[in-house]
Subunit: 203 residues, 2 copies
């Protein structure tokens, strides 16, 4: 019914399982993953235009001036951002563009792009969040404590989101996001053109 | 996740197939049909509390004064209305309450009850709407012309609706409404209580 794709922001606390769910979603060719832009040096396995768009600081800052990012931030002297033009191109191709991003970035994007669908992915409860973080071999107790503290701050922002998806079982969470996208395409605000179709179709 | 039911208003032009879709929906016991109240005389086959709540004019007007209707109207000297208390009772029982109603009444209900989900059911195009009306043996050409004129007025109001469901195939339209209800229950605004669950769950 509606040709243009939707921008779907998958966000939520660290440990919610965003990466796993997004990997499942993009197996379906109706989705495209947003590609970030960065000024950091590519790792050996990373390819420009696939893992990131790699740019110089000068190029990046020029794009900031030109309002070319849906959101951007600086970590450890490196810029990271979501270039608007790539997202727009994919939406125009009819793809639903997935943006996997932490909470603050997600809210920035929604501010800039009101039509985006903002999904808060979360484990069913905070005990499970802690368990998931503890299972990650890479996390020190300090890092876990920091992530838990941050998760509690982030959960307070759920009223800014459109949907809450409980990630208990990955397949179920993935299906929920698929259904959200399908149902959002039935939103009346996306079908105002039906008025003309009806008025002009019967004379 | 959410115990209380949702109020689902199925509306749209005459000939859209509201009755058929609603009959399908209520085969599922998670739904309850809203029952209208009227002052007209019951027909022989009609039972109080099943087809309608039958009341005297005096009783009906008292309920109007007490703000007891989600909407009401007077046709041919008889009152018809949707009593709020019955809807509330069913919602509290966890049922999703279906209200099948014409467009003006639907907008009145949404005004009064913001949390309701307003669905505009429509044939895919106006040619099909005309065909459906013409197939009804009961409709005179004058009546069809009047209904077509009204449908064109009603379609202009779709921006007031939440969702547009194209009723091309009844099973598909029914499934869409089922999915809308399921997805609406994931709306962030209905999960604000998660904040406390998270903050109190890990000490």
């Amino acid at each position: 019914m509606n040709k243009r794709g939707l921008l779907v922001i998958v966000s939520g606390p660290s440990g919610a399982g965003k990466g796993t769910v997004v990997s499942e979603l993009i197996k379906d060719s109706s989705y495209a993953l947003s590609i970030s832009m960065t000024t950091r040096t590519p790792r050996e396995t990373e390819q420009d235009g696939i893992h990131y768009f790699f740019k110089t600081v000068e190029e990046f800052e020029k794009m900031i001036e030109e309002n070319g990012f849906l959101e951007y931030a600086k970590f450890c002297d490196n810029y990271y951002g979501t270039p608007l033009s790539y997202v727009e191109q994919k939406l125009d191709e009819g793809k639903n563009v997935i943006l996997e991003i932490e909470v603050q970035g997600a809210l920035q994007v929604k501010e800039r792009y009101k039509d985006a669908i903002l999904i808060f992915l979360t484990p069913p409860n905070i005990t499970q969040l802690r368990e998931r973080l503890e299972k990650r071999a890479t996390e020190t107790p300090e890092k876990i404590a920091m992530r838990m503290k941050r998760a509690k701050e982030e959960i307070k922002l759920i009223d800014k989101y459109d949907y809450i998806v409980i990630n208990d079982i990955v397949e179920k969470a993935t299906k929920s996001i698929n259904d959200i996208v399908r149902i959002e395409k039935m939103a009346a605000k996306r079908h105002i053109s039906l008025i003309n179709t009806f008025l002009e179709g019967d004379n």
